[in-house]
Symmetry: C2
Subunit: 346 residues, 2 copies
């Protein structure tokens, strides 16, 4: 590999999304079996008349997880579930995964069995088959790459680009908890480092935010509830990078703007307590925290009554004409532009 | 993560294949769309009546490649092609790939563009669509994970378990060249380390073995030639870990033995020269070198005349009853048991 030249571009200067745009342009789709490539939660393929969804996610030690406080079984579970979440976000059903694992010599067979126990549990709960993979040595740390394949009827698939002005913006569950769980784990880990090996962190009353960070679930229940009510969202994606970032994705791809109301953003009690304890802005945490794996979606205004019947879904705003841009409406009616802080580890 | 206990098992003690067996047992196939899981070059799924093949491979810096002598564009090309090879080895056609890349901050945007240029070239040549992926930061070095999806008519798919006694064992191209190319690159790299930056390694007359290591091709041509001759192999796989290892896979899964003749193993002139220069046993290199990405397959004896018509395919032996075991027959008629040295980087 040649040395970096002064004229070369650091990845951090263009960010993750800029990088993806640059790397994935000029990849034409040649095969009739490829309906949609890069740019949504999953690619859309078609085999024998059936839509097949494919998504892949890589988890790297030291970037996506810290084994000082993440149990290996939870890590395996999470690495599978975050991929299922991408398939549900297309309104599909996850069917198979392949798992690639690279592990350095500090990992034993039993360690890897723990990871696979988590993957197995996730597969059982979500009815997914583990059909293949690759296992290899790594020079440094643990690498997990999961690819998930799902199915959907062609007419059911929901992309990010179908939101229309006046559509309602909805989100499932609550936001910011996984981020607060991470803050708590990092703090307790730092405290533990200053104590002896018998130190026990006190997580009483914080179980929910820890679980949101360590063992997230994919919202199959919401996809099923929407189907039961006869609702097909106009646009949908999962909240992995943070609500701000995802709102901008949907609005950019749908060529719309949006208004989201601060006091409508669903936040759990434990998340709010932790934000106060950490002296952090609660709305910022909920908008930009990421790793919530909730579903963000838009529905026509005419579906309002049906949406109200679904437990665990909150209407947080509406879609506008593109000229109005994307803004968060404060409790006093003031408007703050939505910006993608997202999640940039480069 | 807990510390290793004395009772825990080092991965190196059970090897790659032992590890895969332990990790992937107890994964039932629940969905009707999953026909075959772990254990072949690719998993076999079925959507809308069409067989869909899925394979995944991970390439890690310091394990699978050394960037001191592997150009990034070649690396991208190879990372795609080795996956295509797995699909051809099932007698299928690769259609789509997803690409996961983790890169540390020493990589620039231009470096990653080089990798993608190689992936793009491979996709162009083999008619494959790049449909998605994941790009993220890495704490240490470069990680590339590629998943490839292919198609085949259900009646065309060839697995590893169909070989029958008296079948002919065939291999395409020649063996051991990629391994010798790696030896040459490592030697020249060590020599270069003792010289100034202007040192130029002399690769004249070694271009073939270098190309076999740095820019392997998948044998689409052989799959097409077999089809044109109306031959469906009874078993097939690609030679990635080495001929010995692959022969044992086919014989174990087919419940057979085999006899392979030393003087029938195809070896290129440059490979032989390098083996002499390095004072290495040529047959050992050809049997255990790996990374050849040739096709190893078995056909009924009645296809002998047809096979002889296909350029670049050599009959190297025959399948036997399982009691006879797997053996290499030397030039003097002596039999040496085939052992899987394979490729064990743990």
């Amino acid at each position: 590999m040649t040395q970096n030249k002064a004229s070369e571009t650091e990845i951090s200067s263009i960010g993750e999304f800029g990088l993806i745009d640059r790397l994935t342009k000029d990849f034409p789709l040649r095969n009739t079996e490829s309906k949609k490539g890069v740019g949504d939660d999953a690619a859309i393929l078609n085999f024998g008349g059936e839509d097949v969804l494919v998504t892949t996610d890589m988890l790297l030690e030291g970037i996506h997880f810290d084994l000082r406080y993440v149990p290996l079984k939870h890590l395996g579970y999470k690495s599978a579930v975050v991929n299922f979440s991408d398939i549900y976000a297309m309104n599909g059903t996850p069917k198979q995964i392949t798992v690639g694992i690279g592990a350095s010599s500090r990992f034993t067979v039993e360690h890897l069995e723990e990871i696979y126990a988590g993957i197995r549990l996730a597969c059982e709960i979500y009815g997914v088959d583990m059909v293949g993979g690759d296992t290899c040595a790594s020079r440094s740390g643990l690498v997990i790459s999961v690819t998930c394949i799902g199915t959907a009827k062609a007419e059911d698939v929901v992309c990010r680009d179908g939101a229309k002005p006046t559509d309602l913006i909805c989100v499932s569950g609550d936001l910011g908890a996984a981020y607060m769980g991470l803050q708590l784990l990092e703090r307790e880990n730092a405290v533990a480092a200053g104590h002896g090996p018998d130190f026990q962190p006190d997580f009483a009353g914080r179980e929910y935010i820890l679980e949101r960070q360590l063992k997230p679930e994919a919202r199959r229940d919401i996809v099923e509830a929407l189907r039961a009510e006869g609702i097909k969202p106009t646009a949908m994606m999962d909240v992995s990078d943070g609500l701000s970032s995802e709102l901008l994705h949907i609005c950019k791809q749908s060529d719309t703007g949006c208004r989201v109301f601060e006091d409508r953003i669903p936040i759990d009690y434990q998340t709010a307590c932790m934000a106060e304890e950490f002296n952090m802005n609660l709305v910022t945490a909920a908008m930009n925290g990421g790793e919530d794996y909730e579903l963000l979606f838009t529905v026509p205004l005419t579906d309002k009554d049906k949406i109200e019947k679904i437990k665990g879904v909150r209407m947080i705003g509406y879609v506008t004409q593109p000229e109005l841009g994307c803004a968060l409406v404060g409790r006093d009616g003031s408007e703050i532009p939505v910006k993608a802080q997202g999640w940039n580890a480069f």
